[in-house]
């Protein structure tokens, strides 16, 4: 029980801050609570299917298949697949982290995982129409065309800057999550 409570200690601190904010400025405090509420609603709406999908992925998809399509020797195929998988999703970036952890368990190449995260965070195909209607087609398309090479360059840069041991530690950590 204590151990359970301890996990939520930072959340407790934030709740205290909101309480203090409300005492200091009622309108601001209420606004913070209602914004948190809508954030939570979004999280609770997006995350359950994500976690169910990755539970199923973990159980049903054999490691060999993932290694073949996205592993160390997957080359161009692995890069394209990582971009497509990341771009198809519409949830916030933190929704991608648990999926990346399962990918690591299944032996997906590190640079492909970083590409997947980059694509998830910024090249949102389901939102392309939405982006062009809010900001203009030219804005949306230009951004997409810069983002794709940008994501790949960032992924290779990060992979080069991390040592082999550091990458192995991250993979080992994914096993325990």
């Amino acid at each position: 029980m204590m151990k359970q409570l301890k996990r939520f200690k930072y959340f407790g601190v934030v709740v205290l801050v909101v309480t203090a904010l409300t005492l200091f400025n009622k309108a601001l405090g209420f606004k913070a609570v209602s914004l948190t509420g809508s954030n939570l609603k979004e999280m609770l709406l997006t995350l359950p299917p994500v976690f169910i999908l990755l539970g199923l992925l973990d159980i049903w998809v054999p490691r060999e298949a993932m290694v073949k399509y996205m592993g160390d020797k997957s080359g161009m195929k692995g890069i394209v697949l990582s971009i497509l998988l990341g771009s198809a999703a519409a949830g916030p970036l933190y929704g991608a982290f648990p999926i990346a952890a399962v990918f690591m368990k299944k032996g997906v190449r590190f640079s492909n995982i970083v590409i997947f995260l980059g694509a998830w965070s910024t090249t949102k195909i389901p939102m392309l129409l939405f982006e062009s209607s809010s900001l203009g087609l030219r804005f949306a398309v230009t951004r997409l065309l810069i983002d794709i090479p940008g994501i790949i360059i960032i992924a290779y840069l990060i992979s080069a800057l991390m040592s082999k041991e550091e990458i192995e530690t991250i993979y080992a950590n994914a096993e325990s999550l």
Binding site: F8, A32, L54, G91, L117, G150
Partner: protein, 161 residues
């Protein structure tokens, strides 16, 4: 809309899985719950922090600081504000459109959108839990720098500066 697609996909696959193997499906659901429970405290903290930040930051103040004439100074401010806050895309795009209507420049909005979606200071604890400190730092810093490149190109192409 994409929520419905995601739910349908998860639902259909869950049914297929259940028909093929009850035991395996149960195990998959246990795994799903375990990974959700594992990350819950960090997520709650992040959500509440974002709520406080958005309540305190005034949209009028933001659009005043990042007007089209604000130049690189405005781009830096937009990138920094975007990096702190984390707003989901379907709120981010209309917010950006609102900023544009209130006089913000295209370059500034491009920087804002990029760091908004790619850099998350508030979500860093969640990211660290999965990938460690070094990776989180490297990914966020390179995404932050990348936002300036995006701003520069969008500025040239869209606004014709």
């Amino acid at each position: 809309m994409s929520g419905i697609a995601l739910y349908s996909l998860a639902g259909i696959l869950l049914i297929v899985s259940f028909i093929r193997d009850k035991q395996k499906t149960k195990k998959a659901l246990m795994k799903a719950w375990k990974s959700f429970d594992n990350i819950l405290p960090e997520l709650l903290t992040v959500m509440a922090t974002v709520g406080i930040l958005l309540a305190v930051l005034d949209p009028k103040l933001i659009s005043h600081l990042i007007g089209a004439e604000s130049g690189w100074f405005g781009v830096i401010i937009s990138a920094v504000v975007g990096a702190i806050t984390l707003i989901p895309g379907f709120v981010a795009f209309p917010t950006a459109a609102m900023l544009l209507q209130n006089g913000a420049g295209y370059m500034q909005v491009a920087a804002f959108i990029s760091t908004l979606m790619m850099v998350g200071i508030v979500t860093a604890p969640v990211e660290i839990k999965y990938f460690g400190k070094k990776f989180t730092l490297l990914r966020n810093i390179s995404a932050f720098i990348f936002a300036f490149i995006v701003a520069l190109i969008i500025g040239r192409v869209v606004a014709g500066i």
